[in-house]
């Protein structure tokens, strides 16, 4: 076998490989004479490797989705939102009072940001109105978003059919609307909605386009407002049709809120300007608002935050992995020490028949590496299967990166070497005479 395979190298260098392959076969033979024991020993490594790969895959998937969502908000954007200030919340929770709350972003805010802060290129103001939208007798509870014509380009959203409204329609307060794809089958189950009219409040709007559906978990949902059904109308149209006071009726009372703008998206010229501009806007808003009736979301900051979270997650995972592999390694060491004691006689026999110390080291080291590598392989198989099952049955996104099974497997093999060295040397250090006398 060795003589034919290496004519150039000669038997001297071919020997170690042949020897190793025989040592591996011998190792398998010895381990298979204690199947259950070997299996139980291996389990520690299996679970360690498997949990690392599975958790990494799930974590990777989750963080990928989070980053996708943040990217959908636009990494060069700064988003300002109106928030009901906490003290007002308390008052309105009493429920009996009926008066008009006034809070949130205003048109002067918009004006100030545009005129005083350099680096701001585009502003996208937005009003959100909760309203039933009708097609004859079909009805959906819808969020009407009143905004500007450049909204889709700014928020990474696309019109799939038809078009978004134009500057002229905006300026002329035209009664046109763009429907979110989610509500189309509900309102128009049979025919195309383009060119048809829908009723929202007291007015009819002509459907001119359909927006692409948002992902399964949308940015809006992630930030806390579930907007399954969306409809877009020009901001000017909303101003003339709805005014600024929003009524919410409850049994026995009603409350009204005066909000000029619900959301403003600020686009900054370059990514390096995002944070300074965000700071400037924060400062500006702080000076002009007495109450904290707004929030400022910087997707870039969130992205960085998400990356940092992921790093922490990876460190935590790494420690868990290290601990579980350590425990697995100790298990292997334990069983190898027991095996060395149990096979003292065999070691004596082998030494008497010509085995050198290093032959004995090789024999026991090979066995512990087989154990840990087999555990590593099983763990990789299981660790790749579990994310697949999770994706299939829990509909969670998982990503098994190319390197995670490789690293996990190499570490498990390394564990076999590290924790096999001591028992192997202990076996080799035995005095052959003593070992032969051992019962």
């Amino acid at each position: 076998m060795s003589a034919t395979s290496s004519i150039a190298a000669g038997p001297a260098s071919a020997l170690p490989f042949t020897h190793l392959s025989r040592a591996v076969r011998l190792g398998f033979k010895n381990l298979s004479s204690h199947r259950l024991r070997s299996l139980l020993t291996v389990l520690g490594i299996v679970f360690g490797v498997c949990s690392v790969i599975a958790m990494l895959a799930i974590g990777e998937g989750a963080s990928f989705e989070a980053q996708e969502q943040i990217k959908n908000l636009g990494s060069q954007n700064i988003i300002l939102r109106s928030v009901k200030p906490p003290e007002e919340q308390k008052v309105s929770d009493k429920g009996s009072q009926s008066y008009v709350l006034e809070y949130g972003l205003t048109y002067p805010d918009l004006q100030r940001i545009q005129s005083t802060i350099p680096g701001v290129t585009v502003l996208v103001p937005e009003r959100t109105l909760s309203e039933y939208v009708w097609n004859i007798s079909r009805r959906v509870d819808c969020e009407i978003q009143a905004t500007v014509p450049w909204y889709p380009a700014m928020r990474n959203q696309h019109v799939v059919r038809g078009r978004f409204f134009s500057d002229e329609e905006m300026a002329g307060s035209a009664n046109v609307c763009v429907l979110g794809a989610e509500m189309v089958p509900v309102l128009f189950p049979l025919e195309s909605p383009l060119g048809r009219d829908v009723r929202g409040g007291g007015d009819y709007y002509r459907v001119i386009g359909i927006m692409a559906p948002q992902g399964r978990r949308t940015a809006a949902e992630a930030s806390g407002k579930g907007a399954a059904y969306r409809m877009f109308i020009p901001l000017e149209t909303a101003k003339t049709r709805y005014g600024e006071i929003l009524m919410k009726r409850r049994s026995g009372s009603f409350e009204a809120e005066r909000i000029q703008l619900h959301e403003v998206t600020v686009k900054v010229a370059g990514p390096e300007q995002v944070l300074p501009v965000a700071d400037a806007i924060k400062e500006l808003m702080r000076h002009n608002h007495l109450k904290l009736d707004y929030e400022i979301i910087v997707p870039l900051e969130m992205l960085r935050q998400a990356e940092r979270t992921k790093q922490i997650f990876n460190v935590v995972l790494g420690s868990i992995a290290a601990i579980s592999l350590l425990v697995g390694g100790i298990g292997i060491m334990n069983i190898m020490l027991a095996s060395v004691t149990e096979r003292t006689r065999e070691i004596g026999i082998r030494r008497a028949l010509g085995a050198r110390r290093r032959d004995i080291v090789t024999q026991f080291l090979v066995e512990s590496v087989i154990l840990s590598a087999a555990g590593g392989l099983l763990g990789v198989a299981l660790g790749v299967t579990i994310p697949w099952l999770v994706t299939r049955f829990a509909e969670m996104r998982t990503i098994v990166t190319f390197w995670s099974p490789m690293v996990a497997f190499s570490i498990s093999a390394l564990v076999g070497i590290i924790f096999g060295i001591y028992p192997a040397f202990r076996a080799a250090r035995m005095d052959p005479v003593e070992a032969l006398r051992h019962e």
Partner: protein, 233 residues
């Protein structure tokens, strides 16, 4: 009187002593033992227990090194070799037969016979062929794939003898080879030794049983760590 002067002896002990250190006390076990054994001899080493038989056997078998003195095996001084060299010497020049057979339980008959060749790095097919031949020679050609626990004591000892022969050693060392056997199997084993002697193998047999030592052509008696008598018969 002891040696035929023409050939160099295979085993030569020159004033070999062995002492053990037990705590603070130094215990001499062998004291200035000298003898020579030539190729083809059949020697038995006898003596009461505690006389140093086992120590002598360990020294002869290169399992241990003498404290003082010189041991030449096949014309080469092995008394100062390091552990690796001693292992190689055991593997290439010596064959062992033990009282309790000392077969490796998880290996089959033929694999047990192969063990010394494994450590010499002999190609597998070659060592397998040689082991099969030897198994047949000791009458176990039909038991090649059996495990030791499936064999009788006599059969196990025959496997051990085949294993001792597989590396074509200079000497075969047997330590009470019939000690664990009934008289019939014991006689069989001794018959096998006689056969080997007739084929020119050098045999050294350690025993305390006079009927066993009668098979040998020469008896060295040890007493209290010294050679008491050395007789040919």
């Amino acid at each position: 009187m002891l040696t035929t002067p023409v050939s160099t002896p295979i085993v030569q002990f020159e004033a070999v002593s062995k002492t053990y250190q037990i705590g603070l006390v130094t215990v001499p076990v062998l004291r200035e033992v000298s003898f020579a054994i030539h190729a083809g001899e059949y020697v038995s080493i006898m003596g009461p227990s505690g006389c140093g038989k086992s120590t002598l056997l360990n020294l002869l078998g290169c399992l241990d090194r003498p404290s003082t003195g010189r041991y030449c095996l096949g014309g080469e001084d092995v008394s100062q070799l390091d552990d690796d060299a001693l292992s190689t010497t055991r593997g290439t020049r010596l064959g062992f037969v033990f009282q309790s057979y000392n077969l490796i339980q998880q290996l089959t008959v033929v694999e047990n016979i192969e063990v010394p060749l494994y450590y010499q790095g002999l190609p597998e097919h070659e060592s397998r062929a040689r082991s099969c031949r030897l198994a047949e020679r000791v009458g176990l050609g039909h038991r090649l794939e059996h495990k030791p626990f499936e064999l009788s004591g006599g059969q196990q000892q025959r496997v051990a003898i085949a294993r001792a022969l597989v590396n074509d050693p200079l000497i075969i060392l047997a330590d009470e080879p019939t000690g664990n056997l009934d008289s019939t199997s014991g006689a069989e084993i001794l018959g096998l030794f006689d056969e080997l002697h007739q084929q020119g193998k050098t045999l050294i047999l350690v025993t305390h049983d006079p009927t066993v030592s009668r098979h040998a052509r020469r008896t060295i008696r040890l007493h209290d760590g010294q050679v008491e008598s050395d007789v040919r018969h």
